[in-house]
Symmetry: D2
Subunit: 347 residues, 4 copies
């Protein structure tokens, strides 16, 4: 049994971790911390867990966390980097679901997150936890930076084309997210009366997931493959639903003769959580609701040179807690699908 | 392994059965029939099952179904009663998720469903599949009539009071259902543009679940307990959400001195799928979304003699497919929670 | 032109007042105050008003407000009672959309709202602004207490029966509200991810609209008519939609021979904003979305002695801002439908 | 008073026409036809119109329609072209809200709509009813082809850039629509349980609004301006809400020095229904809900050469019925805002 601790368990990412870990056969959930809810039972906050999880929130305490085999951070950005070095020193492995260890370049980190990075040395050993790109490194990692939700859907959608060096010109990422991506904080903008029955873009001038996607794209091409040199344009949108990300990706392909469907199917062959749908498909976000799947369809409309890729995930699962569990499975030598092998809930 | 067939797998009840059975460790899903979709793969219709279920719809065929240990009927009302006698004769056990075997009185059946019952003799041996009332009979049954969604939430909410003979006067059942209760048929009334952002009652003059609830209430009291003799008023409402039933129950209690909280907790002690919440609670339907739980809270506002009971289920799980799997577990001697032991998906 | 001021214009009630008054032909919107948004343009906060209203929020200032003919208070409870006496003295008429002047009994006020009433003398002259009960008094009033949303739908639904002295036993009010009834404050409970795709009761042990409804019922019967002496049970529910209240009312009628449909139609004959629907109807909340109508249907299921009344309004219109404009029209001798004579937006 | 008839009044476009025309001060609604609902009162179908419109559906009859000054067709594609020639001959003016007269090229029509055009001669005189492009021609037209919903939002968003000849390369139109765009037909795909809580693209291989947008773009540039010669890629998406279109437009601008904000503001100066929002804005679809406004914001993210334009409308108003009323106002010499001068309903 893997002894697991969770730091920061009162947001949606933490709640989803709890849901998944409560049925994981190889996990013993040892502690879950929350400054605001310490002493309260977890199921009093999340009534869906009543009868399934008998645990109270406790105050964060590195000493106690040090007895865990693995600690997940489901905290706001900038918290994990304060505690991770000490935990690593104590022999604990860490998966951070926030952004603290996603960007390798500390100046980029400072530019987009507004503070100096607290532990640049530790950052150097962090592995970006996208298994479809970095599986081997994840297995050996002490510290995994769990990817952002938009970056997961987007990088998986672009990986085959960019890795093969087939993209010319710019890439346009038109991404749509359910409201849970904005978190469980009490904000007017995500009230039901503000966010339902409406659709809008946000952050067009710059969103923190942009540098993360750029970094990912730069790392995709193999040796001898021409890198992507165009601009990346990223426009996120708020969609009136709870869960789901739909990334619609536009780029120009260098070679019209390429068999896109085969390229995508080959790239993801054997991947347990990436489903390349049949040619002509339109994946729905509900087809991955509650599960760790990413579904992708690739189109070239009207036989032009623009490729349109549709990539969907559940932002709280493959875009956060599910991918974290997948990373845990890899780190601890378990079958990658352990605890994640169930279908979506439709309708 | 239990060899299972499903008749009528293209509605929401059938889809939910597929979702649950696809991860049930003791079930081999052998065939699923659909007249309209025969030959098509199940996951082409329900993309959430892609990669989890490799099965095609086939035409209904009693001979093939006869090789199953258990057949679920997820058909419209009036279909199962035509085939069930033959299957029973072939040694197959049956759980009908439609209404064909719910009402013991064939004249009531005819009054509410508009046709003569096709097999009154077989009807006599049907067991009403509410485990919290009939567990022992279900275990031995060849034929189980799976309860309706409203009747499940309502009967569980009323059971402690009525069984103890404590209700005087009338019972008012103000019930609210998500739209999936209306099925997957193409009707204008359940279009997103008609049913979202609106709330309405329907069927106030009479709904088919009324006689089912009445029959259930009549069977609740034990020997020597005064039966309920008042009127039952049942008003269902359509709620702008996919899943969930919230039954708000009003009745007058004969004895104000009774400890309602203790009565409810004692009645359901040990029940794996009924959760009596702490005094003062307000259960949310999302706390049971996707899972087989029923959550109940009991109130006596302002210390008056009116008792208000709040009872929530997921209409597709405890109100249909989940309860059917629970019944299957009982019929085949499995742990009742097998395949159903997971928490709700929140948010 | 009526010179109008609004105090507290950043909530949903204030926004709805702005929407209605911006097209009212006899109103000059003179000032709108907000402590938090002072100096900001109204349309920067409510982009739906861009191009329709050129006004900035200002700090509340009784001197400036004193130049108005009429001031609406769309503030939280307990604010208006601090300013109203001074405005009345200055000759301004006032409509308070909060609860400060709804309960005549100051001890009841203190019990439910937790503070002493600031101006019991002024309270005495306040007129409860339900035109269907108090039209004549409203016309002459200096101070109108605009009713609560639940009380509006509920009192209109009960008025014919209670006024005629026909109710015996208890009244059960099972009320459902859209989320905008909870206001525009930043609370976790009304986030889209918490309140959508779910349904729950709240405040079963006691809600502030209960004494308001009780007071209304006590005033309904005419001379010589037997008053209602039973208990009033009020259970509000939160519904996953923005606007709308559906009040389902249960009571026992003393005389089964009464023609309920005729009673309701006669009671509301000539009322511009109450629509008694044909027998057998089920009003939908969307049929009054955005408009000032109340639609009512009356049923006696299965010919029993329980009457079920269905009453729907838009909580922000007939339940708040629309009724306030209706009251203004009455107070200033305008046609009651001025500025309110448009249909619902369906779908 | 303009004597108006509506052919095909049972869909959402027809219902919205009824809502708008019922309060239009210069319109006498003379007849509304429906084959399926003939004889039934309009408000029995659309309860939101109860008390606002006293009219029955009648069978379509060209003779009776010939007594009208103006007939709106709110019929499925391919119906209007059968009747329009006769009505024009009788001196009736026509606005067709379907696609019959939108494409000038009859071979394009046949390619996308699958049937021969029934009246190519009449088609020649049809004016494309986008007032911001064709106001003068609309004023004199006998026959106006009301634009599609996606084409309206998209063309208005592109007009300033394309008219000025500033676009190089391809244009990507990533468009999102509420479900009412799919109509009031009973289809499984638009059931609440299928379309809510999910997001998906559709028609990526080709949607009928693509040639309409292409035709519009070709007509935009003035004399001496270089035309757009790139590819147009159009990807529509279904969004879980009732009303609203959000068109996100991507293109490359030839000259980075251009002041985009000024270009957009100048282009639409004086337009009553196009609102160019301040630089940096993100228009929400709810800011135009129920009203005839189009709101546009223009961005150039990270100072690159990609321009991102955000354009929102209500698909049933500016995208259909509202624009039709605007066209009527122009055709009959009324102030263009008559009957349309009200704000959006928020929340």
């Amino acid at each position: 049994m893997i002894k697991v601790g969770i730091v920061g368990g009162t947001g949606y990412t933490g709640a989803e971790l709890l849901r998944l870990l409560s049925v994981h056969p190889d996990v013993e959930l040892s502690m879950i911390t929350s400054r605001s809810e310490a002493g309260k039972s977890v199921s009093a906050l999340f009534s869906g867990l009543r009868g399934k999880l008998d645990l109270n929130f406790s105050l964060p305490d590195n000493e106690q966390l040090s007895s865990c085999d693995l600690v997940f951070f489901a905290t706001p950005n900038g918290i994990a980097m304060e505690s991770v070095p000490e935990l690593l020193s104590a022999g604990v492995r860490v998966i951070d679901l926030a952004a603290d260890f996603r960007l390798s370049d500390t100046s980029l980190w400072k530019q987009w997150y507004g503070v100096e990075h607290a532990c640049p040395d530790v950052l150097k050993e962090a592995v970006y936890g996208l298994p479809e790109m970095n599986r081997a490194d994840i297995a050996d990692a002490r510290l995994v930076a769990n990817p952002g939700c938009y970056p997961t859907a987007t990088q998986l959608g672009l990986l085959p084309l960019v890795r093969a060096g087939l993209v010319s010109g710019n890439i346009m990422v038109d991404a749509k997210s359910g409201v849970s991506g904005a978190g469980r904080g009490a904000n007017v903008g995500t009230l039901l009366c503000e966010a339902s029955e409406s659709f809008k873009a946000y952050g067009v001038s710059g969103h923190r997931h942009l540098p993360e996607i750029q970094q990912g794209i730069e790392r995709m091409p193999g040796t001898g493959v021409s890198p992507f040199t165009g601009d990346l344009v990223f426009v996120p949108h708020l969609t009136p639903m709870i869960r789901g990300i739909h990334s619609t990706l536009y780029c120009t392909v260098k070679d019209r003769g390429i068999d896109l469907q085969a390229l995508y199917e080959n790239t993801f062959e054997g991947e347990p959580f990436v489903d390349v749908m049949p040619a002509g498909s339109h994946p729905e976000t509900r087809s991955v609701r509650g599960c760790n799947q990413c579904r992708i369809a690739v189109h070239r409309p009207q036989g032009g040179d623009t490729v349109v890729i549709l990539s969907v995930i559940d932002n709280l699962v493959k875009g956060a807690a599910g991918q974290a569990v997948q990373n845990m499975n890899i780190m601890f030598g378990l079958d990658e699908m352990t605890g994640l092998d169930f279908p979506a809930a439709m309708p």
